[in-house]
């Protein structure tokens, strides 16, 4: 078994563990931190189902972003929707047999790479050329886009220019699941693609990519507007309750 196979097998285990453990820790932290007061940005839904609808709109069409900046919305949405299709198409490397709907998405996922890359390019251009966005950018904000672009470009190179051995690759990943490793195709582009993906997985729980779990916990978006009907006393606030009369 080649060194590359061993190195990547180990790296994937480690990266997956980091991604899952630390993201789970963050989600747990968000869930357990109390939201002591009702702070939905109003007008807000007055029912649970209304809130679910509001969240679905935020997640699927980026409703608030649409209100604020059409260009950012356009590029952001192209990137995320492209990313979603690409990732769904990637499921074929990890499932056997490949699910029917993934097969159906195959052709779309293939070209979604361009949508994703165009979106990323637009976002980066904004970050560089709009003085306000440039001002608020740290080096990591630029590098994050660069990283995603590099992953996208290496991926697209494999899809459209320099194919890799998909069957062997799939065997490698399925082998990882059952701790029965098989060789990873040593194609340079694939190695770069996978190295960058590992990097992405590792930084996910320590970076702004936490917006993905975070958006579900944002009190200004996920709270029901019913403070006159119901009280919302956080645990830490109950000790203050004793000062009350009546």
């Amino acid at each position: 078994m080649s060194v590359i196979t061993i190195v990547f097998a180990v790296l994937f285990y480690v990266a997956t563990a980091i991604l899952l453990v630390f993201t789970a820790h963050k989600i747990w932290q968000y869930a357990k931190t109390p939201a002591p007061l009702k702070i939905p940005t109003t007008p807000a839904p007055t029912t649970r189902s209304g809130v679910v609808f509001r969240m679905i709109k935020e997640l699927t069409i980026f409703e608030s972003l649409f209100k604020s900046s059409k260009w950012t919305w356009l590029f952001g949405w192209m990137f995320h929707f492209g990313l979603l299709l690409v990732l769904l198409r990637h499921l074929r490397y990890f499932t056997d047999p490949v699910w029917g709907w993934v097969v159906f998405l195959q052709p779309f996922g293939k070209y979604a790479a361009f949508m994703m890359l165009a979106g990323l390019a637009g976002l980066w251009a904004r970050r560089i050329f709009v003085d306000r966005v440039r001002y608020i950018s740290a080096p990591s904000d630029h590098l994050m886009l660069l990283l995603l672009i590099a992953i996208g470009v290496t991926g697209a190179l494999m899809t459209f220019v320099e194919h890799t051995d998909i069957v062997a690759l799939k065997a490698f990943f399925l082998g990882l699941f059952v701790f029965n490793w098989s060789a990873l195709p040593p194609d340079p582009i694939l190695i770069v693609h996978l190295s960058l993906v590992i990097l992405l997985m590792v930084i996910f729980p320590f970076s702004k990519l936490l917006h993905a779990p975070g958006v579900f916990f944002s009190p200004t978006r996920n709270q029901v507007d019913n403070p006159r009907e119901r009280r919302h006393v956080a645990d830490w606030a109950t000790r203050l309750e004793s000062t009350k009369t009546g």
Partner: protein, 517 residues
């Protein structure tokens, strides 16, 4: 006077997003609270020696107490969507007044001490040590946020810079660097019951004077009761309503509404303040202590309902927090929401035909309406989302013949703050207040030029004071801002003979009128 000379921004025909001018507002700082005021609220009198440790520890405590803070600090992707949404940025061009940049003043410290990436690679992720310069920036720029929540409307994750400002102010209080204006006021309410420190005799005097004025003007004895046990309604209103213009005309309006509807009501000298500055400094404890005064007054006076007068941030605390902070209010009449806004009351009475109104009394004005930020984006009226926009407008439309809205981006949920909210309504911040009013002034100018608007109605004590002050800088007259209930008061037709009849008769008549209508 600390405020330096400054230039009033020019009103342009269309709003233009300014280019960055770094540091132009760094000098804008409110006076620091004096030691005895700090100590009264339980904070250190002045900057403590180990302030860095205290601040960092407090930061951790707050992220553990408030999910909003924790999620907001982690989630911002620096997309920039909020950068052109803050009136203080639009009016000053100072990049640190862009909501995300304001958050970053706090976030960079959070990252440095509470995140792995910030501990390992501070430069890479924009993390920074807490230094004196940083604290200075905090003091400056977290007192350039009116907690208006406009940014939170436009952020894809609803990140509300107001939450960060509140947390930052709480941290500053904890290390002994509090703001004079807010902390002095909170101290006064704890002791006396209102922001002005107006004691009971003075208040009684003022109200008596008002009764006389109204009787002189209308020939009808409209009462302004204080501390009357057994009244149906406890009215809690900002103390500015007792003396400031045009606030006081709003108070007269409420009194006329109650009078004509035959609802017995009272003010309380113990809880003679609707505004709750505890929110501005992010202090749950102070906010709750102030809210509990209202509960106590309601119990002592044995009222059945609590109604709030015209005030923006106050309505947020009342609508969104009062029940949580000081409830349950199961001793009040369950047929009414607790609390109610005076506009909800008036609106209901108008719908039931219980008010006799003559809108032509306001024919000397062409009106527009300024949605107060915290009414618009942090609360509601009525039982449907958006009622906070419709109800005041319906009230205004039923008492005036000439009304137009300002441009759509500047009203409703997108409304611009007046520039003086969130604990900034103080003379030491006048430059900020004038510049921050620019977006609202531009929107107003728009309808003044196009539709001949003469007056802008507002429904918040802060907005009214702020506009009275800044209007002249923009070549408007200070009396061009009016209270919503001033308009209602103007239009109510009071029948002099009514005063001799019992309340029962009055409401019977109102019933008849309603049926006839």
């Amino acid at each position: 006077m600390a405020a330096a000379e400054f230039e009033t921004p020019k009103i342009r025909e269309y709003p233009i997003i300014p280019r960055l001018q770094e540091g132009v507002m760094a000098h804008s700082k409110p006076y620091v609270a004096k030691p005895d005021f700090q100590e009264k609220l339980g904070y250190p009198g002045e900057l403590v020696d180990n302030w860095k440790e205290v601040a960092i520890e407090k930061m951790g405590e707050l992220t553990g107490k408030y999910r909003s803070l924790q999620v907001f600090l982690d989630s911002c992707v620096k997309c920039g969507a909020c950068t052109d949404k803050c009136h203080y940025y639009l009016g000053t061009s100072d990049p640190k007044n862009m909501p995300v940049a304001r958050q970053d003043l706090f976030r960079k410290v959070y990252r440095r001490y509470y995140t792995l990436s910030g501990k390992l690679f501070p430069k890479l992720v924009g993390a920074e040590d807490l230094t004196e310069e940083v604290l200075d920036d905090w003091y400056s720029y977290f007192h350039q946020c009116s907690q208006c929540r406009r940014c939170s409307v436009y952020c894809p994750y609803g990140i509300d810079t107001a939450e960060i400002s509140m947390a930052a102010r709480e941290v500053m209080d904890a290390v002994g660097k509090g703001q004079k204006y807010c902390n002095e006021i909170i101290g006064k309410v704890h002791v006396i019951g209102n922001n002005l420190g107006l004691p009971e005799p003075a208040l009684a005097d003022t109200l008596e004077g008002l009764e006389e004025d109204v009787e002189e003007e209308t020939g009808v004895q409209v009462r302004f009761p204080l501390d009357e046990k057994g009244a149906e309604v406890l009215l809690v209103t900002p103390s500015a309503d007792f003396f400031a213009e045009p606030h006081i005309d709003g108070l007269i309006g409420y009194a006329k509404v109650f009078h004509q509807a035959g609802i017995s009501w009272t003010l309380s000298s113990y809880a003679s303040e609707a505004a709750n500055f505890g929110m501005f400094i992010g202090s749950y404890e102070n906010m709750q202590k102030l809210a509990l005064r209202i509960r106590q007054a309601a119990l002592d006076l044995g009222v059945k309902r609590i109604v709030f007068g015209e005030c923006g941030h106050a309505w947020r605390v009342a609508y969104s927090f009062l029940n949580t902070l000081a409830g349950p209010f199961d001793f009040l009449d369950p047929d009414y929401p607790v609390p109610q806004h005076i506009c909800e009351v008036t609106h209901g009475l108008i719908e039931q035909g219980k008010l006799t109104l003559d809108p032509s009394q306001n024919d000397d004005m062409v009106l527009t309406y300024h949605d107060s930020c915290n009414v618009a984006r942090a609360s509601r009226m009525g039982d449907r989302p958006g009622g906070q926009f419709e109800i005041p407008r319906e009230v205004i439309r039923s008492v005036c013949n000439h009304y137009v809205d300002m441009p759509s981006y500047s009203i409703g949920e997108g409304t611009y703050c007046c520039g003086g909210g969130g604990g900034l309504l103080t003379d030491d911040l006048i430059e900020l207040r004038v510049k921050g009013a620019l977006p609202r002034m531009e929107a107003l100018k728009n309808v003044v030029d196009d539709y001949g608007v003469t007056h802008m109605a507002a429904m918040c004590a802060i907005c009214k004071s702020q506009f009275s002050k800044v209007f002249p800088y923009y070549d408007f007259q200070m009396d061009q801002v009016v209270s919503v209930h001033q308009l209602v008061g103007n239009a109510i037709v009071l029948q002099p003979e009514e005063e001799n009849r019992s309340e029962a008769d009055q409401s019977e008549e109102a019933q008849d009128q309603a049926e006839a209508a």
